[in-house]
């Protein structure tokens, strides 16, 4: 029954409305990171760029297509790593998102914030995160508050990394209750931009 529930959560019919995937990790990698992912609800791609090579702050951008809900989302955020890399490394993110819903061209906008903790080393980390946010959709002036917990496993081998990510939680709909959300995703990252351009 428990397994069935987990499967059900991860195949929830909607999983949009949350902070970024790419910044939901405790360690900010020293190089420019490109990432593409495919999940149970969304596909997307994005990048995280440190302010300077090895800097402890950076920017990220993501473009997401929710293929079951047929909506598009753009996310951007600023990420700050709390300390130099060690076994337990934390970070915070602050950003925003923009949803485009095709019928009637409804638009949703709002800020997101997150706290992340990476446990591990240069090669393998387990990342835990919490995310919160507010989004308002203009057609009905409807607010929703996405609240999420994340866990991801990340393996980096040279210029490449793969990850398995699980995210679940609720969207709180003020005055109307809540909606359960969940998604599982696999990601592929590439860090070889600097090396490729120097050649």
């Amino acid at each position: 029954m428990r397994a069935l529930f987990v499967v059900a959560v991860l195949s929830a019919t909607s999983a949009l409305a949350e902070g970024g995937w790419l910044t939901a990790r405790g360690r900010l990698q020293p190089e420019l990171r490109f990432e593409a992912w495919g999940g149970s609800r969304t596909v997307g791609l994005g990048l995280v760029t440190p302010d300077a090579p090895g800097a402890m702050a950076g920017l990220s951008g993501e473009l997401v297509y929710a293929y079951r809900d047929r909506t598009l989302e753009a996310r951007g955020s600023r990420v700050w790593q709390f300390s130099k890399n060690r076994f337990a490394t934390g970070s915070a993110t602050l950003g925003g998102s923009l949803h485009v819903v095709p019928e009637g061209l409804d638009v949703g906008l709002g800020p997101h914030a997150g706290l992340n903790l990476a446990l591990g080393g240069e090669v393998f980390t387990v990342d835990l995160g919490v995310q919160t946010g507010v989004e308002v959709f203009f057609s009905e002036l409807m607010p929703r508050l996405p609240e999420r917990l994340l866990i991801s496993l990340n393996l980096r081998l040279g210029a490449w990394a793969i990850g398995l990510h699980l995210r679940g939680g609720v969207d709180v709909l003020p005055g109307r209750g809540f909606v359960g959300r969940g998604e599982a995703a696999l990601s592929l990252s590439w860090f070889g931009f600097e090396r490729a351009t120097k050649r």
Partner: protein, 281 residues
């Protein structure tokens, strides 16, 4: 190349738009079926299966018709309730079955309201246009779906509520006490999941006008299209699935006919349903 890229982008984003069928598929004599999509909570796309009185080509019979929004039980597919929807449609009702998140209506209570909105304010040009009488609209549900059906009824946009093998959420007790619409509670005497005592206790919390109909020998999943789960759990029914279906539907039709016309529970019609015991307040 630019045009192709733009076309791909627009196709991905818009797909074919929301599904708003103009005609349905005939699924039985006089009954059509169509699947709509409705947008809610900003980005959620909710599939809603609608069964309706139809002609031989699947085109809807002219309305307005009374309607029922039906909420599925926990982890039970909406298709397993289509036998009820077919019977109701054959009797002149339009029935909408929203697909809830995780097949757990509790995670997306407002999808019932989304289905209601689809019925009373349908997409222009769709088969639902002018089909439903917004003043004759009931909400029904099975098991966990009945808990959610009661919550939807308490929000005030439905004229009647039917609880199948379930009861109101204790957390809603204060609101239930002031509920002023007709209600019907249907119970199976051998239900192992929503035991008769619990359903009776829940029914006791419903204000008048209300009716409790007990189907003898019926089990929990006999409200769906099969009682396999009951049998696997050694919860054996003492009535055939066909007999239970007949009794459930006769009671629902007797109730809905009265509730959506004069606001009563149809005590006389319910008393005439064969093979069930009826209590009315």
């Amino acid at each position: 190349m630019k045009r192709l890229t733009l076309w791909i982008c627009l196709s991905l984003l818009g797909g074919c738009g929301l599904a708003t069928p103009r005609t349905g598929q005939v699924v039985g004599a006089g009954v059509g079926r169509a699947v709509f999509e409705a947008r809610t909570n900003g980005t959620d796309l909710v599939p809603v299966t609608v069964l309706f009185p139809a002609d031989d080509s699947g085109a809807p019979l002219p309305g307005p018709h009374p309607a029922v929004v039906f909420i599925q039980g926990g982890f039970v597919a909406t298709t397993r309730y289509e036998w009820q929807a077919v019977e109701l449609a054959r009797a002149g009702y339009v029935v909408a079955l929203p697909e809830n998140q995780l097949a757990l209506a509790f995670f997306s209570v407002d999808y019932g309201q989304t289905a209601r909105t689809l019925l009373v304010d349908p997409p222009r040009g769709s088969l639902l246009e002018g089909l439903v009488d917004a003043q004759r609209l009931a909400v029904a549900g099975h098991s966990l779906g009945s808990v959610v059906a009661m919550k939807l009824a308490l929000e005030g946009n439905f004229q009647a509520v039917v609880l199948e093998a379930g009861f109101p959420d204790a957390a809603d007790a204060a609101q239930v006490a002031t509920f002023a619409k007709p209600s019907l509670s249907l119970a199976g005497s051998l239900d192992c999941s929503a035991k008769l005592e619990s359903v009776r206790e829940g029914w006791a919390s419903l204000p008048a006008p209300t009716a409790l109909v007990v189907v003898p020998g019926a089990t929990h999943y006999q409200f769906t299209d099969a009682d396999t789960e009951d049998r696997q759990r050694k919860c054996l029914p003492d009535a055939s699935l066909a007999d239970t279906h007949t009794r459930v539907m006769n009671a629902m039709l007797a109730f809905l006919s009265a509730a959506l016309s004069d606001g009563s529970v149809g005590a006389a019609s319910l008393a005439a349903v064969e093979g069930v015991t009826v209590e009315v307040r």
